[in-house]
Symmetry: C2
Subunit: 240 residues, 2 copies
């Protein structure tokens, strides 16, 4: 039986073997939620880069440049990390270059995996159905906040563990804890997430609507996957 | 108001400021439980060292040499990491040199803190009463398992957060999660810990009794504290 493990911080990924495994990168507030939204709205490809400088280099090319640091759009950039910025005609058919405080760094750290995919509550069930059919070990990588543990990424990891429990071997304390936490929070995810430090930070930034949006479950059938340097929409057919 | 933060792995301590804070090192199964037992049984001092080689160097000196790796006594050493090895006349008045898989490494990583103390369920309330009277920020450092998250250390951190909640500022996702997890497990800690990967490892090693012993709450009034290179018994008077 294949295994599911949960890693609570990119800084801990070095203690796990990623080769031959699928790594699901999780940055619920907001990078991986927004990446799902972008592909749902027809984005062609997304280039995740680690630094704002790398992102700047794509100005004046045919890219939409998105940069977020500490929850805000970096000055001089088109858009940041809000899911609402990735909806509409300006996204359809576009190439996007994206750098965020946590999520894009986590994607880079995972790149030695067999496959890197993107998870969020928005595509939860669709992603889990796909994972169930891959016959591979899975690592759920929480992007956290500047390498620290965070609550909302853990909740999502717990939701995936709960969904995969019957088909995977779960022998990892972080997976056990994430699942129990999700069970505690599942009845009202949005309310539970209000406890988080990140959520307070977001209230201060006036982006509560982003949090509410990102806590919606199963509103799209899309799996972003890393192919070379780019995230693209997975084309594989997924059994119901 | 002073703050309490929880760090789930020694590998994450670098992202926190420890200077001017009290760090509580937590390795419930079994290093920090056994260290408490040793002082309860009259140990004079304990020298935590990182490697088995360093520990070996104290042979033929007036030290009791204790070394554990992967849950077992290292060949050629007097004792390992079992709390039952730290009870009785052979401990009273003794200097001990100790190396373990996780706990002693965590103690070393915390040494730049204002003060490093040792926590376990065995001294939970006594430790919390003391922390409440120090007027300092507190970091609860889980030793984990080879830098990975573990369940039992997290439960203990949650027990401390629950005890300190009214007197400290808690704005750290790992503290919030640890506290919720403890609430879930508190009615039967031993049963909950059986879910952990570490507990399975211990069953295989035939040391289930150690797990049961270490899950006992408030059976001793002792706080081991790092003074220079040595752990000693804290002499400060603690208000009831």
């Amino acid at each position: 039986m294949n295994s599911v493990e949960v890693v609570f911080s990119p800084a801990l990924l070095q203690y796990y073997t990623v080769e031959n495994k699928i790594v699901v990168v999780i940055d619920i507030l907001r990078a991986t939620s927004s990446i799902c939204v972008a592909f749902q709205h027809g984005a062609l490809r997304i280039l995740p880069v680690e630094t704002v400088n790398e992102c700047s280099a794509f100005r004046n090319q045919d890219f939409l440049c998105a940069a977020e640091r500490d929850g805000q759009v970096v000055e001089g950039f088109d858009i940041g990390n809000s899911p609402f910025s990735y909806m509409g005609d300006h996204i359809n058919g576009k190439s996007i270059v994206l750098t965020t405080t946590n999520g894009t760094i986590a994607i880079h750290m995972a790149r030695n995996a067999y496959q890197v995919v993107i998870g969020s509550f928005l595509n939860l069930s669709y992603l889990c159905n796909w994972l169930r059919n891959q016959n591979r070990d899975v690592i759920l990588l929480c992007a956290g906040w500047k390498n620290k543990f965070n609550l909302e990424d853990t909740l999502f990891a717990g939701a995936v563990v709960a969904a995969l429990r019957n088909d995977f071997n779960i022998n990892c304390d972080s997976a056990i804890v994430a699942e129990d936490l999700y069970a505690l929070a599942a009845a009202d995810l949005y309310k539970y997430v209000q406890k988080s430090s990140h959520s307070h930070r977001f209230e201060d930034l006036g982006i509560k609507e982003d949090v509410a949006y990102c806590m919606q479950t199963d509103i799209m059938e899309v799996i972003p996957v890393l192919e070379g340097d780019y995230l693209v929409k997975l084309k594989a057919k997924i059994p119901a």
